[in-house]
Structures are given as structure tokens and as C-alpha cells.
């Protein structure tokens, strides 16, 4: 029996909404985009599904990263795999996004300043490598993410 995807964090949703609210007066189009992006993110997570295509999962990752960038403008530089030429595998929803969010969230909490994030892959089906590096020139954090492939 596949595990249910992790619940969406209320903290994340509340902070994205706070960011959207902040854009309303000065950049109403940006505010609208943030709310629409949050809608896409929640729609994905709240729709019951045992599996999704890897391409959809990576779209979900992209949506999450754009929301984090809206919360922290200029702080997150992100590089994500192209959605072209991905293997036709089905994965458990949020099986890439959730561990990536944990790692990025921890990094943002622990270290002030900008953060460069690179997600590379997939290799061997649905295996990704996440690299997080900060402004201090220190060794980057590496995390291997194995998306749960749905048979």
C-alpha cells in the first residue's frame, strides 16, 4: 500500500498568502500570480491520486519553488531538470517535492542570505540529486532523492 503524500504545511500556506497580500498594492499582477500558483500547488496535493507522471511531479516541484521565491524574493536561485524527455514512470505524489522542501526549508531556516538550489536528474529511473549551497563558499549540501516509483 503506497504511503499517503505528506500533508501540506499550514505554515507554508500561511506564509505564501502573507507574501501574496504584500504584493496586492504595489504589484497586483504578481499577487494574482502567487495566488494562482498556490492554487495549482494545493490542487495537486489535495487531489487524491496514487501516482502521477514524473513530469507532473516536476511541475509540482517547480510550483513549490516559485512559491518559495515569492516568499523570499532574490534569495533562492533554482535550477530544475527540463520536463522534456523524462522517463515515462509514475511516482507517488510529492515524493520529490516533499524531501526537497524539507531540505530547502531547513537550509533557509538555518542560514541567512541567498541559497542556490540545483535539482539534477533523473538517473536510473527516478533518482535525483539535490545540491544546496549558500553564500559562504562552504561545501554544498547534497541529498539524493529517490522518487517512489509506482508499479
Amino acid at each position: 500500500v503506497p504511503e499517503a503524500p505528506p500533508p501540506v504545511s499550514a505554515h507554508f500556506v500561511n506564509n505564501v498568502l502573507a507574501a501574496a497580500a504584500s504584493y496586492i498594492d504595489e504589484e497586483p499582477e504578481t499577487a494574482r500570480d502567487v495566488i494562482a500558483e498556490l492554487g495549482q500547488f494545493l490542487s495537486f496535493r489535495l487531489t487524491p491520486a496514487e501516482s502521477v507522471s514524473l513530469a507532473r511531479e516536476l511541475d509540482h516541484v517547480g510550483s513549490y519553488v516559485r512559491l518559495e521565491q515569492a516568499r523570499f524574493p532574490g534569495r533562492i536561485e533554482a535550477s530544475l531538470p527540463s520536463s522534456q524527455g523524462l522517463p515515462a514512470v509514475q511516482v507517488r505524489p510529492a515524493s520529490v517535492q516533499a524531501p526537497l522542501a524539507d531540505a530547502l526549508g531547513r537550509r533557509l531556516r538555518e542560514i541567512a542570505g541567498p541559497c542556490a538550489m540545483a535539482l539534477r536528474g533523473p538517473s536510473g529511473g527516478a533518482r535525483f540529486e539535490l545540491e544546496l549551497s549558500g553564500p559562504d563558499g562552504g561545501a554544498p549540501d547534497h541529498l539524493q532523492i529517490d522518487a517512489a516509483v509506482h508499479a
Binding site: H11, N14, N15, A18, A21, S22, P73, R109
Partner: protein, 264 residues
């Protein structure tokens, strides 16, 4: 507050720049606020605090390096600390906020009404501090303290064990229908479900007396605002019918007092 008193001086602290911009904009347009400064970290906040006087901090909980809760604890060592209002996306942090004697606890993004209520609380706190009496703490607009709480000028919430995921869950008294004795514990029945409270019913009876609760039976403490009918029984007892059709027995010795209280 004296008419001659200056407006409030507020320091807002959040590592999320957009959320900080949002609360700054709201604070700057509030009638009671005279000055708003912002800090993107607890360290930066300490620099501001060392150089000026603030009536209140609007403080995020989760921040890099020094978290908001740690800063609030640090402020308690100050001789004359500013009031702390938490403004956070972490709904679960409310109980901890009260442990550090926060004046209020707001969830982002905050509504204008809710922010105004928090500012009114800060004003009362500032006026009370001048007179030597601090204002009560609050959660989501309702005064609050830990434990089962007290009634007059005290809490309108009660902290119960959270059956899902541990920690504490805050239940507003107005949502509680009744409490039932369970040994040294009490089971409270509210709109969100049933929770066990590590407080005897006799203590809750004292704590909640001024908030519309009445002891109608040795095993039942009832929120009279949730009662819809008092039904007399042939044996001299009665039954109180609640909004959700629950029937609560009323002991014979409590019937007359309950009738007087309900003007029934």
C-alpha cells in the same frame, strides 16, 4: 490612554521580506501607530532594541539563527521589555507563545480587524504598565492563559492534549458544550470533538463560572449558551437539551437554581 499620549512605536521582525512588507503596510496605516521599524532577523531586532524604545514587537516565530521564541525569552530579562505579539504562519506555536507571556498571537496573513484588536491590546498594555497593571494575554483575539484557565479577566481558551500528533490544542470556551467528570479528569465536548482535560470538574466549575457555565449535576458542567430547552421530569429532576440534542441530566438539588438563572 491619555489624549496627550504619543502613538505606538512598533518593531516588526520577520525574515520573510514580503510578509514583513505586508505587516509594515498594515501597521503604518493603523490609527494608533506612530512609528514602525522593521528588522529581517532577531539579531537586527536586538540592534534596534539597544538603540530605541518600542512599545511592542510584532515577531515571527521561525527565523534563521535566533528564532522569535528565543528572542521573546531574551526580552523577558529586560528591565522594561516591549510587549510581544507573535505574527506567524505556525498555528501550533500558540501554547509556547503564552509560556513566554506574549501579549497576542496572530496568524499570517493577518486581517485588519485582528491587527487592530492586537494593537488595542498593546495600547492597554502600555497604559496598564504605566499604571502598574499589565493587560491580559490573548489568543486569536480572546484573552488566554495556560492550563484550564480562570474566568474573570482571564482566559477564554483552554489548552488540551492534542490527540493527533501530540502537543497542545487550544479550545475556545464558547465552543464547549459541556464538560463531564471522568475521575480526576474532565472530558470536554466541543464543536471540534471531545478532549480529556487534566483538571477536575470542581476546578473547572470555579474557573469557568463567569463565562456562562453552570454545574447542573455532580458529573456535568454545562455551557448555558449551548442549552436550548429545560425539560422537567416527574421525579423532580430535569433534563437540559443542548443545541446538538444531547440530553444532560440536571440533579434535583440544582433544578431551582438553574431555573432562576435561566429565568425559566
Amino acid at each position: 490612554m491619555s489624549p496627550a499620549r504619543r502613538g505606538l512605536s512598533i518593531l516588526a521582525v520577520d525574515d520573510e521580506p514580503r510578509a514583513l512588507a505586508d505587516v509594515k503596510r498594515l501597521l503604518e496605516t493603523a490609527a494608533s501607530v506612530e512609528k514602525v521599524e522593521t528588522a529581517g532577523s532577531a539579531k537586527e531586532a536586538l540592534v534596534y532594541l539597544s538603540g530605541g524604545r518600542f512599545d511592542a514587537l510584532f515577531l515571527d516565530v521561525a527565523m534563521p539563527e535566533i528564532e522569535g521564541m528565543a528572542l521573546a525569552r531574551l526580552l523577558r530579562r529586560f528591565t522594561d521589555p516591549p510587549a510581544v505579539v507573535f505574527l506567524t504562519g505556525h498555528p501550533d506555536a500558540a501554547v509556547e507563545a503564552f509560556e513566554v507571556q506574549a501579549l497576542d498571537f496572530l496568524i499570517k496573513p493577518v486581517t485588519r480587524d485582528r491587527l487592530d484588536a492586537a494593537l488595542a491590546r498593546v495600547e492597554a498594555h502600555v497604559a496598564g504598565a504605566a499604571a502598574g497593571a499589565p493587560a491580559p494575554a490573548a489568543v486569536n483575539g480572546e484573552p488566554a492563559q495556560g492550563g484550564a484557565g480562570a474566568a474573570a479577566g482571564g482566559p477564554d481558551v483552554v489548552a488540551v492534549d492534542n490527540p493527533q500528533g501530540g502537543g497542545k490544542r487550544l479550545v475556545r470556551l464558547e465552543t464547549i458544550s459541556f464538560a463531564q467528570a471522568n475521575g480526576d479528569y474532565a472530558r470536554i465536548v466541543c464543536e471540534d470533538g471531545r478532549f480529556l482535560l487534566r483538571t477536575p470538574l470542581s476546578q473547572l466549575e470555579k474557573d469557568w463560572a463567569a463565562t456562562g457555565f453552570a454545574r447542573v449535576h455532580r458529573a456535568y458542567l454545562v455551557n448555558l449558551k449551548h442549552a436550548v430547552e429545560l425539560r422537567a421530569q416527574l421525579n423532580g429532576t430535569a433534563v437540559l437539551i443542548m443545541r446538538d440534542d444531547t440530553e444532560i441530566p440536571v440533579a434535583r438539588r440544582n433544578v431551582a437554581a438553574l431555573r432562576r438563572r435561566l429565568h425559566a
